[in-house]
């Protein structure tokens, strides 16, 4: 059985950071794909869910930074709010996975995922309203950009991420959460 050692967690985090650069490029043929399909959020959330909050936090900070430096997307001006948002996703996903133990992998994953997605959006909205765009960012803008435009991305994340974690567990690439589900 594969154990999650510190080295393995570190390498998985590194891979997730690299995926933050590679995955958005796969979507770049679709106009405005970044804000609709949110491809960069998938590796960050996955890293938090699998490796824990510290690693998720690092992935959320480094992923957008690397992507901006290497592919110029997201543009530098949008980088700080994006880093805040992704860091919260990774961190809360990891924390929730540590705290929630329902006995069912899918239930744990969905609870952690939804909590992380909500926390990330709320904190990124507050950060934009208070720090990055004071006076220009309101409730309507927050709802539109984080929920309406991003609806396909939210659905994709809710469908793909638990399936992905389960597929990785089945492939023995990460350890099982509950031994009875082996």
């Amino acid at each position: 059985m594969n154990k999650m050692t510190t080295v393995k967690k570190s390498i998985i985090t590194a891979v997730c950071i690299a995926l933050c650069v590679v995955l958005p490029q796969a979507f770049h043929a679709i106009p405005n794909a970044g804000s609709i399909y949110l491809p960069m959020h998938i590796p960050v959330l996955l890293c938090g869910l699998i490796c824990g909050w510290q690693y998720g936090l690092l992935c959320g900070l480094a992923g957008p930074l690397f992507s901006t430096l290497i592919t110029a997307m997201p543009p530098m001006a949008y980088l700080p709010p994006m880093m805040v948002e992704c860091a919260v996703y990774g961190c809360v996903a990891g924390l929730m996975m540590k705290l929630v133990h329902t006995g069912k992998v899918y239930a744990d994953l969905y609870i952690s995922l939804v909590a992380a997605m909500l926390a990330g959006r709320v904190i990124a909205g507050i950060a934009k309203a208070v720090i990055f765009m004071p006076g220009k960012f309101g409730m309507a803008m927050w709802t539109t950009s984080y929920f309406v435009t991003a609806l396909p991305g939210i659905v994709i994340q809710l469908v793909i991420l638990p399936t992905l974690v389960f597929a990785l567990m089945k492939a023995r690439l990460i350890p099982l959460r509950y031994s009875k589900e082996a």
């Binding site: 050692t5 570190s10 950071i17 650069v21 796969a26 679709i30 592919t71 110029a72 530098m76």
Partner: protein
Amino acid sequence: MNQLPTGMYQPGTSVVHQMKANIKIFCFLILTGAVLMAETIWGYAVLVLFSGCLIYFSKIGLQTALSSVRRLIWFLIIIFVMNLCFYGPENPWIKIGIFAPSYEGLMQGVHIAVRVILMMVIGNVLMVTTAPLVLTEGMETLLLPLKLFRIPTEQIAMILSVAMQFIPTLFEEADMIKKAQIARGARFDSKKLLDKAGAVMPLVVPIFLAAFKRADELSLAMEARGYRTDMARGQRKFGMPTGFEWLAIITCSILCILQILCL
């Protein structure tokens, strides 16, 4: 995905290439601050002039420096037009439906576009003149003060360095999976957005599985060779800044202070 991403390292012998990575990152952070502080035309003019000097001294060529700008030209045009038409509806030149172009909108559009272009050019110069491994070592040096808060800086630097190494490998992997999907009938070249989106979705899970398989192999190999994250590792000594590096730090700092105080 077939083309190399912008900002890939290009070996060279220019003075900017020879600067230490930690100094370059430090200067980059100061310049980012200067760009974010710039508000006036004179402020931007000084920064554009400085960026020109940076490109000249780094000998990377205008084309390379502006490569990421070219890729985002439509994005910049859309941002500019949106600001021009919607930013200042109080004193518009002309009002046609919801479109109200104004002087304030024009200035805001120019302001944002120039700021994004400057950040891209400066970031590009840093990436093109610094080898990825040296860049992560430079980051590690700059992260050293975090050790006071018991943050494992060596581990963070290792993660960043491995991430850098993985990027080209995963690009190749993604390209291979994409070609396999095309062979199975995926329509990446379709003009219909739904077809395109439908073709991209099946890429995601195989890319993740392939990436995690590589991560598993690498971590196993590292552990088999006795790699431990809690042990101190050898570290590149960057040494004291040279005269030119001091000059670069002082110039960037003056530029940033000028942006805050007067420009």
